[in-house]
Symmetry: C2
C-alpha cells in the first residue's frame, strides 16, 4: 500500500495523488461515501461503484455492535461481507462512543460505554479497536482518539490531546504487533485533535508525525465551529503534516467545505451530507441545493441534473422524484442518494483535473460563486 | 397490439403465447411486478428489467390521487414518467375503491368515494376510468368493475355481476370513442366477476366475450376463499374465455398458485406477494420460503439463492441480508425484492419452457413437492 503525491498546486496547497491498496487505486482528492453499517444507505454496491467512488467509509463501533465483529470476520472481512470490490476505511468509532453512547466513562486506559441499541456495556481500548479493525479487515484503520465537544474549555481539549497522543502510540505499537487476517494489507491513520487551538493542533500533529503512520487525519472539526475556523485549523494542521502522506479531514462537508479544504492541502473526505440530506429530499447541483419536497417540482419535467453523470441524474425528472418523495417511496432515497454521491464524486474528480491543469483556484472561485448565487 | 397463442399443453390447459405491445414483446405465461405508484417499491427500473420482467402493473386509482393524472399525462405518459421501457398495465382501481376508501357509495352510474390519503371526495364512472387511463397511457387498461367481498351473499354477487357487465359495456363504448394520447396503442381488458358461483362466472364471462375486448381478466379471487375454490373458479372461467385471447388472473398469487393457474389456462398474473413479503424479510426459493429475520441466518454465508439469476441472489450472503434486515437498512428491501421478483420471473419463464417441451405437468408436480417438503 502506498500514497504517491503527484502534483501540488502553485497558488494554493491543493494536491493530487494516488492512494494504492490491495483493492485498487484511489485518485485523490477523494470523497468517501459513508457506509456506516457496511452499506451505503439505499444503494447497491454496483451503484456506489458507478458513482466513481473507489473508497467507502464504514464504522468499527457500529459493526462491532451489529452484526458483531465475529460475523464480519467469518465472512472473510468487510469487503466480502458487503460485496464491495473497492477499498474501505473504517472509522474507529471514537466519535460515536462520545456522541451516541450513554454513560460513557473515559480514562487513560480506555472508554467504557453502553450500546445505543440495547444498553449493553462495552469497553474499548486503543488495542481493542486495532483488534476489531484487524477482524473487520478494512484497507485503512482509524485509531481510537478522544474527540472533545466543540464548546469544550481549553483544559478539556488539552486533556483530550494528551489522551489522543497516548492512545496513538499504543495503537501504533499494537498495529505493528498484529497482522492482517484476510489476505490483503492494512494501514493505519492517526488522528490530530486540538480543537481550535493552534498550539495544541501543532503539538498533536508533530507528536503523531513522529510515530510515522501511513496517513494522518484531522479530527474534531465540523462539530459546530464556524466554517472559517474549520478552514483555519485545517490550514495550520496540514502545514505540520508530512507532504508525502495522505491527509484526511474527517466528517467534512458541504461542496464548498471540500473545495476550501482541498485548497488547504486535504486529500480525503467523508461526510454524511450527500447521503443523509438525500434521504431528506435535498439534492445538490452546480447551481446550489434543491429541496425535492417543495411543491414547485411537482410538474418540472427537467432531468434531476443533466450535468451529473449518474443513472439517477440523467434518466428521471424532478417531477418523478418529487412524486416519489411525496408518496414516501423508497426509490426516492435511492435516486437522490445516487445523484448526490455522483455529484460529490464528480466535484472531487473535477478538482483533481483542475489542480493538474493549474486552474484550480479560478475554477474553485467560479464554482462557489455559481453555487451560492441567490436564485430569483 | 396482438396476442399470439403459441402452444397449448396436452395434459393440462397450460399455454404459451406472445403478447406484443408498442413497447415490446412479452412472453406468456407472464408475471407482472406490482408498481402501484409508478415504482416497483425499492427497485430502479433497470433492476426490474434485469429480473426479466417486461410488463409491470400500476394502479389508476393510486396515480389519479398521487401525483395526479395530469402530471403523468404532462410527463408524456406513465412509461416516460417512470422511465420504464417495457410495457405497463394499469388496474382501474375498482378493487382499491372498495378496499381502501371510506364512505364509498356505489350506484349503477358510478362510485363515490373519499381518498384514503386526504379524505377528499371523488367520483369514478366507467367512462371516467377510461379517460384516466388514456391520460396515464398504459399499454393495457383494466375497466372499472365491482368486486364483492369473498363472504358476500349470492344476491350481492349477482348485483355486482350485473353492474360489472353494464360498466364493461360502457367502458368498451368509451374506449372505442377515445384515442391513445401518447403516440402508442392501448388495449382494454374486461374483468369477469361472479364470486364462487359457477353460473354467475359463466354468465359474466359469456357476456364479456360478446363485447370482444383485447383480453380478459378474472377478478374477485384471492380475496379469502380457499385455494382449491380459486383454482376451480379459474378452471370454469377459462373454459368460457376465447382461446385466442390473453387471460389474466388478478392479484394471484403464491408460486404454487401461479403453477396451478397456469395449468388451468391463465396467461398473466400480478401479485404483491414477492414485493410485499420481501419487505417483511421473506424470500422465496425452490425449497420454500425463508424468513431472513430469523436468527439462524446471522452467520450463514451461503448466497441468498444460487439458483435465481439476479445480482441480489448471486452476490450477497444470507448473513449479509439478515444483517441489513436486523439493522433496518433500506438495502435489505432492495435485495429481497430484487431476488423475489427474479424468482417469480424465473418460475414463469421455466413454466413456459416446460409447456413448450411438453413436460409441464411433471415439472409442476416436482416443483410443488420440493417447494412444500417439510424441512428438518
Amino acid at each position: 500500500m502506498h500514497f504517491t503525491l503527484q502534483h501540488t498546486d502553485t497558488l494554493t496547497k491543493a494536491r493530487t495523488g494516488l492512494l494504492t491498496t490491495d483493492h485498487g487505486v484511489i485518485e485523490t482528492p477523494a470523497f468517501m461515501p459513508v457506509g456506516t453499517l457496511a452499506t451505503v444507505k439505499s444503494l447497491l454496491p454496483r451503484d456506489v461503484w458507478d458513482t466513481g467512488a473507489r473508497l467507502c467509509l464504514a464504522n468499527a463501533y457500529h459493526l462491532y455492535l451489529r452484526p458483531g465483529t465475529e460475523i464480519v470476520k467469518e465472512a472473510g472481512g468487510i469487503h466480502r461481507f458487503a460485496n464491495w470490490n473497492g477499498s474501505i476505511l473504517t472509522d474507529s468509532g471514537g466519535y460515536q462512543v462520545y456522541s451516541l453512547s450513554a454513560l460513557r466513562k473515559i480514562t487513560d486506559d480506555g472508554v467504557k460505554f453502553k450500546s445505543h441499541i440495547d444498553g449493553s456495556a462495552h469497553y474499548f481500548t486503543a488495542e481493542k479497536v486495532i483488534e476489531i479493525e484487524r477482524d473487520l479487515g478494512p484497507d485503512f484503520m482509524m485509531v481510537l482518539d478522544e474527540c472533545p465537544p466543540s464548546n469544550a474549555e481549553r483544559a478539556v481539549v488539552e486533556n483530550a490531546v494528551s489522551r489522543t497522543m497516548l492512545w496513538a502510540e499504543r495503537s501504533m505499537e499494537h498495529f505493528q504487533k498484529t497482522k492482517p487476517l484476510h489476505g490483503y494489507d492494512q494501514a493505519a491513520y492517526l488522528i490530530v485533535q486540538g480543537g481550535v487551538h493552534r498550539d495544541l493542533r501543532e503539538q498533536c500533529a508533530e507528536k503523531l508525525v513522529s510515530m510515522n503512520s501511513f496517513g494522518y487525519a484531522i479530527g474534531g472539526l465540523a462539530v459546530g465551529e464556524p466554517n472559517e475556523v474549520m478552514y483555519e485549523v485545517t490550514d495550520w494542521t496540514t502545514d505540520v503534516l508530512p507532504k508525502e502522506k495522505p491527509r484526511y479531514l474527517m466528517g467534512v462537508g458541504t461542496p464548498i467545505d471540500l473545495l476550501e479544504s482541498i485548497s488547504r492541502g486535504v486529500d480525503m473526505f467523508d461526510c454524511v451530507i450527500p447521503t443523509r440530506n438525500a434521504r431528506n429530499g435535498q439534492i445538490f447541483t452546480a447551481n446550489g441545493k434543491l429541496n425535492m419536497r417543495n411543491a414547485k417540482w411537482k410538474n418540472d419535467f427537467s432531468l434531476i441534473d443533466e450535468n451529473t453523470p449518474s443513472y439517477a441524474s440523467q434518466n428521471f425528472t424532478k417531477a418523478y422524484l418529487a412524486h416519489l418523495f411525496n408518496a414516501d417511496e423508497t426509490l426516492a432515497l435511492t435516486l437522490a442518494t445516487m445523484h448526490n454521491i455522483a455529484f460529490y464524486e464528480q466535484l472531487v474528480r473535477t478538482a483533481r483535473v483542475k489542480i493538474l491543469e493549474g486552474t484550480f483556484l479560478q475554477w474553485k472561485t467560479d464554482f462557489i460563486s455559481r453555487y451560492t448565487l441567490v436564485k430569483i
